[in-house]
């Protein structure tokens, strides 16, 4: 039997198996920690920092930090939630997120987090960067205006030989997600659909289909993101 450890989150006593991440441990205890770059079944990367918690006086990402016995975790506090909100605001200003014109509006995780944290306006200056749209692939369309560089597509979409279909191209603020032309041209319908689903925003869209779900039936129309957790 696996070792069982005890930890607290915002003072609530919880138990978990040794060796799993703080994120997994809290989810098993029906507690919500917001995530964005994390995706179930994909190795955690800790790049978006939305799941930041504080333990032992240090900020850490819940998706990559293993839970330990006796750990005291701060999660749903005013300070940490404001920090998370500021990350969402930064993502909004550093891309071009025109929600009213986006097909993924209502199903977008970034937007849903903004709703959950009641972002009325970002506190930072809008950058309006020049970004590309790549319509070269027959099955999917890439709109880099909305890409938040979470790497979910790069990490999860692999061909039968395990090669990544997507990759980062250039560096720093010029970095962009690029579809490998050769692997992309052989993209199966299944993988194309998976890449659309795995993108948390509207950066990867299916071709020849649009606005598939009517307003009112979209994922985050009625319930905030994270509503499946009790706390």
């Amino acid at each position: 039997m696996a070792d069982i450890i005890n930890f607290t989150i915002d003072g609530k006593e919880c138990v978990a198996e040794k060796g799993i991440s703080i994120l997994q441990a809290t989810q098993e205890n029906d507690i919500y920690i917001p995530t964005l770059c994390n995706y179930e079944g994909v190795k955690p990367k800790g790049s978006c920092r939305i799941c930041t918690i504080r333990t032992n006086g240090q900020f850490a990402t819940a998706c990559t930090t293993p839970v330990a016995d006796g750990m005291e975790i701060e999660n749903n506090t005013e300070e940490i939630n404001d920090l998370r909100k500021s990350i969402i605001e930064l993502l909004f200003v550093e891309g071009n997120h025109f929600c009213p014109a986006c097909e993924m509006s209502g199903d977008c995780e970034l937007q849903a987090l903004a709703y959950r944290f009641q972002m009325m306006v970002p506190r930072f200056t809008f950058q309006f960067p020049k970004r590309d749209i790549d319509a070269g692939n027959p099955k999917i369309l890439m709109d880099c205006n909305r890409c938040i560089r979470c790497k979910r597509c790069i990490r999860a979409i692999k061909d039968e030989k395990g090669r990544s279909v997507f990759a980062f191209y250039r560096r720093g603020e010029n970095i962009k997600v690029h579809i490998d032309p050769e692997l992309g041209s052989k993209l199966t319908d299944e993988l194309a659909e998976k890449s659309v689903t795995i993108c948390p925003v509207g950066a990867i869209l299916p071709r020849e289909k649009g606005f598939r779900i009517p307003i009112g039936q979209r994922k985050f129309d009625h319930e905030p993101i994270g509503s499946e957790y009790k706390h």
Binding site: C99, Y115, H222
Partner: protein, 183 residues
């Protein structure tokens, strides 16, 4: 006690937010009981005739006239509200922002498919009577201080109504999940 005074304006917007204001339907009769309108396209008062309590701004700033009107509102309104996505983040007009203004004007007046070959003298309008285009479309709060933000494209009539009545009555506003949407 005199009624609170409201002014409204559309800058670089589509008037959709004002339409949403009218979508409060029969409650507009209650609104008229509660407030008095000053400068606004709704009553067609062109200039401020008195100091206002609340100013509602639709649309961002795409030219010098928008900036002028916005500053005039800031001067004449105690509380200024950005309502709608264009006022808050530039919205549809801000699609031009990543493109240099020179390229936008050349596309519109010289090279676009509907003008190519029809503008032989190659004129880009620059009469001083025409408001000067800004280098990009600015959200209102990047030009003047804005006190409150009502997101949505357009913000729902319910949101506008709740915000206005909360401000007028001094009660705290209830923000239910479904009332705040960016689309």
């Amino acid at each position: 006690m005199s009624k609170p005074v409201i002014a409204t304006a559309t800058l670089a917007g589509c008037f959709g937010c004002h339409m949403s204001l009218l979508d409060i339907d029969e409650k507009i009769l209650d609104l008229i009981e509660l407030v008095e309108f000053n400068k606004s396209p709704i009553d067609d008062i062109k200039n401020f005739t008195k100091k206002c309590d609340i100013g509602l701004i639709e649309g961002g700033c795409c030219n010098s006239e928008n900036v002028h009107v916005l500053k005039d509102f800031r001067k004449n309104c105690n509380i200024l509200i950005s309502f709608g996505e264009c006022a808050i983040m530039g919205g549809l007009p801000a699609y031009r922002n990543p493109i240099p203004i020179k390229e936008c004007l050349e596309e519109a007046y010289l090279n676009g498919p509907s003008v190519k070959g029809h503008n032989e003298s190659g004129i880009i309008p620059n009469d001083e009577e025409i408001p000067m285009m800004l280098d990009k479309v600015y959200p209102c709060h990047e030009i003047v201080k804005i006190d409150y933000f009502l997101p949505g494209c357009p913000p729902s009539a319910e949101l506008i109504w709740n915000a206005l009545t909360a401000l007028i009555t001094g009660n705290e506003m209830e923000l239910s999940y479904e009332i705040i949407k960016f689309d």
